[in-house]
Symmetry: C2
Subunit: 129 residues, 2 copies
Amino acid sequence: MIGCGRVGSAVALQLQGSGWDVTVVDENEDALGRLGDSWTGGFLVGHGMDLQLLRESGIEDADIFIASTNGDNTNLVVAQLAQLRFEVPRVIARILDPRRAAWYAEQGLETICPTQIAIEQLEKAALDL
Amino acid sequence: MIGCGRVGSAVALQLQGSGWDVTVVDENEDALGRLGDSWTGGFLVGHGMDLQLLRESGIEDADIFIASTNGDNTNLVVAQLAQLRFEVPRVIARILDPRRAAWYAEQGLETICPTQIAIEQLEKAALDL
């Protein structure tokens, strides 16, 4: 997976806790600190668009690929690389822009859009008044 | 409500569409553009921590107050002002930090945490493999 921020690191730890063998890629080596002392998975410093780095991370044998950096463009491009070039069976991208999330979901990319969820939850909370 | 970004503006438009009388406060006057030509509600430029501005926005008679800026600290402080000082019957704050969202929820503040939702959705998607 790429992106080891608040979301990516929490997901990585949860997956490791569920028995998965996880490798995380992040541009910032300090992000490793978010994984804590119990982290036994891989951690590579670099950009997700670096094909050689993706190969080193084990993408060619991955069952799942998650793109969860803070950049929608990075997540979209790297998710499509994972899907089309490396043929990872399952690819999920976090996309903050609801319109792009909906568009790429229609094109067959699995997307998670926290912005859309926040909108829906606030509306639901307000309208249930 | 305060904050007229992607989330705030979408919620404001939805509430207006449901017949609510909505006033939005944002620091950036360009944010009005997000509300589009059909916006008939109020729009005030300024900071949510400005008590005079909050009064001008009609907070003293509001049924609901939503804090949805991109700053957790602002959302927390202004939501507590709305709740404790202006006694708005229903106050909802968007908080990006899951730990603070959980803590303030325990203290009785209604919080929406898109980060936590993203974590849960990604975990669910990955573990359902």
